[in-house]
């Protein structure tokens, strides 16, 4: 324990210098901003800022970039709640109940609980990183492809639970997501699938384009049809902060979300994206009245928001302890370190203790800044709802287009945005929800990749999925979930379980 205190003291010496605090503040502020702006994400921002970090000491550079990353997780929930537009994969589920709350005039409590949950989860996850990062990293290494496969299958089945409408619709949407996810070059054979001869599609379709089209463009199109819903939003703003009963209802979801997010964040290759979905599915499953979900249940905001922020912090574990990036943002961080001549790897904690511990302490400082920054801002964000749609919507459209174009400066991406916008509109008209589709899109390619990799390694023997203890457990859980979903429908009480 005293070793940990010594280490944290080294970190504090680095992180709490006026210059590093200032850069941390700059990072989290910028992160919040890009999180709030639809379409602009941390990847584009960090790549644009890489050349600037060139002139900073390595620890300052990393503190700033890390601040942008977890700052964006805070900000991402704001647009999801206020205008039903997720900027990040983690904010997709926040749309479901967060936006419903906003439409009931409870945007303030939704934003408040998202910030509070994120802060709590962030603080706990940082303690986990500080106390047991190396041990956790070796746990993640035990995960074989068969284990990842089963984890993703569990996630996919949970996706059906996400839907608040018909089971068949949700199932179909997951399948559509899986299909769209196969676009691009196949990892195992290099064969191009559904690329229509467009070179841009060989790398697949970017998540940001899908979510902007399906959520943002579709939302705008639907709202243009009627003036009524706008009156709902403008009429009542309601209280700004969560009430005691809101907080009481959120305590356990926040704790569970923190736990789930901390664990899933450690797994490289798709673990972190699962955390907010998993937390939502869990809350809905154990809730006394699952029908409230999708209609403004505060647990549906508190849990996933905590999970995604916990995951954002623990996803630094593979980077800092093994030098292995768990997502594209972490790969950028490695680039930022290499530019500085620091080689990330298992030895980093020994060779650059001030960098390692400095970044960890700065994360906590950054989380504190974020909550101080975000709570007073809630009042201002809510004022945005009073902006007439004729001004707000063109502004959002413009930002979406800029954000999508900033991904890779390609006009093909903009056409894709239009295509998904049309799909999104049709889905709304058909009463199909896009959230399960997005989860299918994210997980589908991973399921396939891990399945085939597991079979390559086992030389085609399917039994590995059962004989591996981790994989076996996941599959049993998935089976239980399927039974829980199917049984009520056999008894024709499906309506009760899945509709109002």
């Amino acid at each position: 324990m005293s070793a940990l205190m010594d280490a944290l003291a080294i970190g504090a010496q680095t992180a709490l210098t006026p210059m590093n605090l200032l850069y941390c503040l700059g990072g989290v502020t910028l992160g919040t901003l890009i999180g709030v702006l639809p379409g602009l994400g941390p990847i584009a921002t960090i790549s644009m800022l890489l050349p600037i970090t060139f002139y900073l000491p390595p620890e300052t550079a990393l503190i700033t970039l890390a601040g942008i990353y977890y700052g964006a997780q805070y900000g991402g929930s704001t647009t999801a709640i206020l205008v039903n537009m997720p900027g990040e994969s983690s904010a997709v589920v926040t749309c479901l109940d967060g936006y419903a709350m906003a439409r009931q005039g409870r945007a303030g409590p939704a934003l408040g609980i998202a910030a509070i949950g994120s802060f709590f989860a962030g603080s706990v996850a940082i303690l986990i990183v500080a106390s047991s990062a190396p041990a956790l990293a070796s746990v993640a290494l035990q995960f074989g492809p068969e284990d990842y496969f089963s984890l993703m299958v569990l996630g996919l089945i949970a996706a059906v639970v996400l839907a608040s409408g018909s089971l068949l619709n949700a199932f179909s949407m997951v399948l559509v997501g899986l299909l769209v996810g196969t676009v691009g070059a196949d990892v195992n054979s290099g064969v191009e699938r559904y690329t229509l001869g467009i070179p841009k599609l060989i790398d697949g379709i970017d998540f940001v384009i899908m979510s902007m089209g399906l959520f943002a463009i579709a939302e705008i199109a639907v709202n243009l049809e009627s003036a009524e819903r706008r009156a709902v939003l403008n009429g009542k703003i309601g209280s700004i902060f969560p009430t005691w009963s809101d907080i009481r209802a959120s305590v356990f979801p926040i704790l569970r979300g923190t736990g789930l997010g901390s664990i899933l964040g450690i797994l490289p290759g798709g673990g972190a994206v699962l955390s907010s979905f998993a937390s939502y599915a869990l809350e809905k499953k154990i809730a006394r009245d699952p029908s409230r979900f999708g209609k403004g249940a505060i647990e549906g905001v508190a849990g996933p928001e905590s999970a995604n922020n916990a995951g954002a912090q623990t996803s630094f574990i593979p980077l800092l302890t093994l030098g292995i990036p768990s997502n594209p943002v972490m790969a950028l961080m490695i680039g930022a370190m290499m530019i500085q001549g620091v080689t990330p790897g298992p030895q980093l904690i020994k060779t650059n203790p001030d960098l390692f511990w400095g970044v960890i302490v700065s994360m906590w400082a950054g989380n504190l800044m974020l909550i101080v920054l975000n709570l007073p801002l809630i009042g201002i964000w809510i004022q945005l709802l009073k902006v007439p749609y004729r001004i707000l919507y063109p502004a959002i459209l413009l930002l979406c287009v800029i954000g999508v174009y900033s991904l890779s400066y390609s006009s093909v991406d903009l056409w894709l945005l239009v295509v998904f916008g049309v799909f999104g509109y049709v889905f709304v008209k058909l009463g199909c929800e896009p959230a399960p589709l997005l989860l299918g899109f994210i997980l589908g390619p991973l399921v396939e990749e891990y399945f085939r990799r597991a079979l390559i390694m086992s030389r085609g023997d399917l039994s590995v999925f059962i004989t591996s203890p981790i994989s076996g457990t996941m599959l049993v859980l998935a089976l239980i979930l399927v039974v829980m979903v199917v049984v009520p429908s056999i008894r024709q009480t499906r309506e009760l379980a899945f509709r109002e």
Binding site: P199, G341, Q347, R459
Partner: protein, 311 residues
């Protein structure tokens, strides 16, 4: 009237643009130069582009803007530069994989930056210490050992494929999306062999999770004088990557000469040498002709191998 004048002005501007390169020869560059990196930011090409770009900026007094245009293993960005105006203001910092048989004819090699070797690494638990023992182990266990790569047709895949062909051994290929996940599974012993870049493997070797058996350059590396080459055991074996600056075809010769001189001068800078060392590589200054000869040979060699891969 105004309209007619505008058309006239446009025609004059167009004419000036056509004559541009000839006029601009005296002073290149007179406005910012764009250096495209056809890979995601943060990788080796990106780092080198920024370092070299900064030196070029100091030399020319004009900004060198590094722009990331990733896609299709570097081919999207390289092709775009190939189609750009051949005035020397749009260049690409390419690397192995970005220039292939299909687009080499669109691009003019200007300056080779470095040819980093790969390393043959095995998981620490494998009972071998040398390349020779490794080959013997593979012969005793044909088809039982897995090797990871950063993707089908990637340098790490082809280096291993060439090794198997030249030694008559057999391993099973496990492709990954990118080097990070492959290293993860090498450290976790899900795959036990990998031909990978030094900057990814050396930190793991220091932590004793993997063993480096040899490097893949033809001759011993100045950076790792203690490491044997694979070629010492497998004569003729060579599999190196490369980084270099190319431009569209048709850039005026004096401009090519100036860019080549600028990049070569940058390579003499100690900071760049230090970063290259961290990648396990050394600077390879030379003429555009040297680069072209290297690239032609490199593409021909790997193309021959790619055609033999099972489809």
């Amino acid at each position: 009237m105004l309209k007619r004048m505008l058309i006239l002005a446009g025609a004059v501007a167009a004419a000036a643009a056509i004559c541009g390169p000839a006029v601009a020869q005296s002073k290149f560059p007179d406005h910012p130069v764009k250096l495209v990196v056809p890979f995601p930011p943060g990788g080796g090409a990106d780092i080198l582009a920024r370092l070299v770009g900064q030196k070029l900026n100091e030399r020319w007094g004009q900004p060198v803007v590094v722009e990331s245009k990733p896609g299709n293993a570097g081919i999207v960005g390289s092709n775009e530069v190939g189609r750009s105006k051949p005035d020397g203001y749009t260049l690409v910092m390419a690397a192995s994989g970005a220039i292939v048989a299909s687009n080499i004819n669109q691009l003019t090699p200007i300056a080779l930056v470095s040819t980093p070797p790969y390393m043959l690494a095995v998981h620490d638990s494998m009972p071998v210490k040398t390349v020779q023992e490794f080959i013997a182990y593979l012969k005793q266990n044909p088809g039982k050992v897995n090797f990871g790569s950063s993707g089908i047709g990637s340098a790490s895949h082809l280096a291993a494929d060439l090794f198997m062909r030249m030694t008559g051994t057999e391993m099973v290929h496990v492709p990954y999306k990118g080097i990070g996940q492959a290293i993860n599974d090498l450290v976790g012993n899900k795959v036990s062999v990998m031909f990978g870049p030094p900057q990814a493997l050396l930190p793991q070797a220091e932590a004793k999770t993997v063993k480096i058996l040899g490097i893949t350059s033809k001759t011993k590396s100045k950076v790792f004088p203690d490491l044997p080459t694979v070629a010492e055991t497998v004569p003729g074996y060579e599999a190196v990557g490369w980084y270099g600056v190319l431009g569209p075809n048709g850039i005026p010769d004096p401009v090519v000469t100036e860019i080549s001189a600028g990049v070569n001068a940058a390579l003499a800078d100690p900071v760049i040498a230090e970063r290259l060392t961290a990648m396990g590589a050394a600077a390879t200054p030379g003429t555009p002709g040297d680069f072209k000869a290297f690239l032609d040979a490199d593409i021909a060699k790997w193309n021959a191998l790619l055609e033999k891969l099972p489809k």
